[in-house]
Structure formats: structure tokens, C-alpha cells
Amino acid sequence: MTHFSTDQLREYQFNLLPETERGKIDAHLQRCAECRDALQAIEAQFAALDVLNEQPEVSEERIEAVLAECRQPGRSKLLVWRPAIILAAAASIAFAFLLIRPGLPVEDRTAGGPPAPASGRLGEANSTSTDSGARTAGTAVPTLAALRASQPFAPASNIELNVLPRRDEVQLTIYNAEDLTLVRETRKMTLKRGWNWLQFMWSNTLIDPTSLDLRPVTHADQIEITQLVYPPRLNELARWTIFSEFSGEAEFELTYFTSGLKWNAFYEATLAPDQQSMKLKSYVRIDNGSGEDYENAETRLVVGEINIDEKIATLAKRTPPYGTPGIEVLSRSNTVSANDKWQFNRQEVEIEARFFNYDAEDIKEIFKKALSEYQLYTIEGRETIRDGWGKRLPNIEAQEIGVTNLYKFEAERWGDQTIRYLSIANTETCKLGKAPLPEGQVRVFGHAGETESLVYVGASSIQYIPVGEKVELELGVARKVMVAPKRMRTRTENFEFDQKGNISGWDEITDWKIEITNAEDRPVDVEIMRWAESADWKVETDAAVTTYDAEHFRFMETIEPRSKRTIEYELTVQHGTRREE
């Protein structure tokens, strides 16, 4: 009888074999005591695994720690090394490094000392030597020079880390022209005298790792940020080495670029019943798809084209190595320089004026600053913008803005339809004119008859409107104002002949009649654009006509409520040698 091997029986025992093979072994075991014994031995041996079968529970403190950490706003995390007791081995490695380092005071060499980036939470127990070394061996405090000479290697693990306090302030500057946002955070961190490590993680975000920049705001003359490293095999994190000449709290500013934040302006216009004025409300909607929560963020919006070499989203998705880190931030002012190709001159930054004054407390005021050819809007107050969320912020509200209604007719563009336009001017006389209006969608509502209920009139998008400029909103087809041109008669006159008696030139004369109907309860202005189909033409009419361009002329008429008006004109187009006259 052929027996099955131990390997086969073990795989049988743990149900790793295909059904057919299992069936064969089942049948074999029925009649083979030797294999049954072998299987029992396997079973007994592996029963030993059950000694690890207890069900331990994680400590309640750890559960609370997880919950506390999850309640923190941001997902990018600044981490520092935790107190180092469990990392004695790392300390000993660092100590070995210290021993062979030339120029260190003898006390330090015998101290059993310390460096170890792993030696402590930034500002609590870290520093390369001072506290732990002196305490354990009772030696003198090392000099700054000695400390400085013992710059640690980058730590190799990211597990033994603690989370720093949340960011204190954050400012977002969103550039809509590119998918780009400059984030400027301030965080207070406690440093120890000597070397400190600081870790930044940006997993699941669209942060550009090459743009990370850290600088001290306070104690800048006592803190030196020496390098930023991207450790191997650890994706989406970077670590700074910081040398501090003192122990205590310092404020740092961290700046970086991210993508995924966008803003859009929306306008809501409500026409007065007489349609001669309107109320204008505007909103700014900010959408955060950056992967990061920003709490209590000051938000600034930039209008204007910028030029960058690479999309931030592309940079953010890159795998290590990340390239040259660091961006140049000139100061804490509004001046930003991220790239030679787009640089803001601080001298050009001037606060011009508040956008509007409003009583309502929830309406955000926008402060506008001129940044060279860019416009920067700062939304008053602070807002929390969570990842994946969009937020609409009320912006401006202006009452009784004067508007001009205009109905346009141009057969070549819209066929036999008349299009309604509403024009407003960004001027003080129109109760605007304090600042340019950012581009966005405008929805226009009107009143339905005598009732208070509103009806949707139409929507239009506007481009950026500088102060003093006028904008026309196209509201779509007008149903109550109609324009109907009719060709009445065409004839040719004024023939000219060449030397052989052939026709060399003539005039084509057409009589036109345009009937304009106004079914509205108010007078309307109608602009009728006509195409002569030639550059050699003339018009004879009693109506008010102006030349628009070489081949077009237009009529402007005001039509009384519920009335009709007819314009008649004679269009003469010259052909052949008549054109030369």
C-alpha cells in the first residue's frame, strides 16, 4: 500500500488540498492505520498553537488616545520622537557614534551619553545630550559646539512617534487659475537644547512634498533648521533636523503647496418688479478635495493667471525621491515667491478698500489687495473647511443696483429670436465699483406678476469685471418682445457699362420693413443688428440708425408698453464698378 507523505497529510489536516485529492486521502485513511496515526501526530503537534489562543484587549488608555488623535483636524501630521526608554538600543547606536566623534569633551565621551534623535519628544526629552546624558552620568552640560557637532542620523522607524499639538493658525491662499493653494501654518513646538527631529507626513493628501518649508518665527536667531530629509522606504513623510540653542517653546511657520482646493464665485440677482434695479448677492464656494482638513482657516482667493512649470497635483502624487525641497518665502507678509516665474512684489500690495459694508453679521467681507496683475481677496474671519466638503460663504449683498434692460435681435446669430440682456456697471453710481468682481455664474430671478413669488429668469456667466467696466448678462430668449424683419422689394438700378457695352456695375436696392412688438407692461429698449452682406452699402430710413462695423448697422428703438412699431428702410448695395465710386 502506498502511503501519503507527512506534507500531504498536514495539508489535508489544514484543508489546503483540492477536493479530488482530499477524497483520495479520505478513502485511504479508512483503511490505513499508519496514515491515521501519522495524521493524529500532526494534529497533536499543531494543537500546541492553541497556547496563543487567548483574547487580550487593548488598553482603554490606548483607545482614548486613538479617539483623541482622530479628533484632531488635519490629516497631515507633524510628529516628534516619543520619550526614549523603549529605544535604548537606538540610543546606544547614537552613543557609539558620539564616542568616535573627534573633538567632543571627555565628559561627554564617558557619560554614557546620549545623542539619539530618538531620545525624546520635541521639546520634552529630546536634544542630543544635555538632559539625559547629564542626568545619568552626572557630567557637565555639553557646549553648544559639542552638541552641534553630533548631528544625528535620521531615525529609521515611524512607529515610535507622538503627534504634536494641532496647528495654531492656518492661512489658505487659493489660486484658481491653476490648481494650486499655498498653505501657511503656524505651530508652537517645544524644543530642547541641541538637536531635534521633526517629522511631517502627508499621506492621502495632495501636498507637494518638494514645497515644504519650515522656519522659526520666534527665537529665529537661536534655532537653525539644517536639513529636510526624505527617509528611504518610508513614503509620504519628511523629517527636519533642527538645532536649538535653548530649551523652550518656539513658534514655527510651515508653508507648502497643495492642490485640490478650489473656489467659485456665484451671484444671485433679484430684479425689482419694475425691472429697473436689482438686488445682488454673491457667494464664494470653496471645495476642499485636498485630503486635508483645515480648521479655522483664513481664506484668501487669488484672481489672475500664474505660470508654474508643473501641476501641484502631479508633484503631490510623485513617489520618492522627491527632488529638491524648499520654497522661498520672503516674509510673513502677503509677499509670496514660490517660483521665479511668478513673484509678487510686496511694495505693490496695498489695501484699497473694503468691498462692501453690511449689517448682517454672517456676511463675510472681502478685503481686496492688488498683487501686481493679480487680485487677492481675503474673506473676513475664519472658516473650517474639511476634506471632501464644499462650503458656501456669503460674500456681498448690494441693494437697488441700477440695471439696463436691453433686447437684442440679430438674425445671423439667433435666427428669429430676440434675446434679453441685462447690463450692470461696476461703478459707484450703480452702487458697486469698490472692487473688481471675480468671474462666476449669475442667476437672475424676477417677480411673477403682482405676487411676491420669484421666478427664475435666466443665468449667465461673467468674466472678471474691473472697476468702472460694464457687463452684460444674457438671460436667454425673450417671449414678449419680438422682432420680425420682412424683405418687401428688391430691384437693380444705376447700371454702368464698359467699353464693349457689357454691364460693369449696378446697385441692388432692397426695401425692408421690421415690425417690433412689445407685449411687456413696460417700455423696452430694442437693439436690432442688420447685416448688409457687403462692405459697400448705404441705408436710407427715418429711424435712428448707426453704423456698427463695415458690414453691419443697427437700430436702437424704445417701444412703448403693449405696442407695435414698424421701421422701414432702404438698403442699397453697390456692385462692380459702382463699388469704386
Partner: protein
Amino acid sequence: MEQSDELLMEAYRDGDQTAFPALLRRYKSGLYGYLMRMVHNSETAEDLFQETFLRVHQKAHTYRTGARFKSWLFTIATRIAIDSIRKNNRSPETQPFEIEQTDPAGTPDEQTAQSELRHRVKAAVETLPPKQRAALVLAYYQGHTYPEVAEIMGCSLGTVKTHMSRALKTLAVKLPQGGLR
């Protein structure tokens, strides 16, 4: 009736802040036990437990309605645990000393024998490469079926069986012959 893991996770994803603590406490034994068997160190296991749930929190917005939460959770935990084991294999001196837990009800002799057996079994399991260890712990201790283990580990059923087979072959050499005594 108790809400399912999936409903809790969906609620948390959609902004219900009370759902997350409930999920966390629901797995405080199951997930921690798994991580303990993977790394055999309570402090490291707690770190990994924390890291796993932080990832769940961070990735909550990516959780797909209808996806099996337990598989998703163990997938995250497995990746984190395997990474941790690999790192610690590079720097074994960072493994702190762990005190053995024994059955206080037994006689001193029995306690000693059990402690020794635990030590040998742990040592045997620790010799397994991370993926083999994960396959063994998920299938044997956590009671997942092989297809579930494949889903958690993100590999084919055949690969799981291969990991398992190799793990058992290694253990057959390391585990004491004759079983529990």
C-alpha cells in the same frame, strides 16, 4: 438590535462621530489579539492597533458602501503589521522584553511547562516570514476562511494556500513533537 460594522462605518463616513468609538471598541479584542499574534509584543501591538484605526479614520471617506468592514480593517492592519515586522527584522535590538503570561490556576510545574511551551510556540511563529505569519494567524487564530484571507491579504487563493503550506512546514520542524504535555 446591534448595528452591523458596515452600517457603523458608513455612518462614520457620513459624519456620525459616535460610530467610530463604537467600532473601535468592538474590535478592541479581535484586532488587538490578531496584532499580538503577529508581533508578540503588547506595546508594539497597541501602536499598530492605534495606527490601524488612524488609517481607518483617515480613509473613512474612501470606504465603499457595502464593502465588508472586517475584511477592510484586517487588510489595513495586516499591511501595517507586515511593515512593522519587516522594520523590526532590520533592527531586532529594538524589540523590548515581554513578560510571559501564564495560567495562575496551575501548579508551579504546570505553569513552568506552559510558559516554556508558549515561549517555543511564539518563537516558532516568529520565525515565519511576515506573509506566512499573516496567513497562519488570519486562518488559524482569527478563523477566516482561505478566500477571506486572500481578500484581506490582497492575493490569490492559491498564494494564500502556498503561504499557509510553507508556514506549516516550518512550524512542523519548530513545534515540539508530541504536542501539548
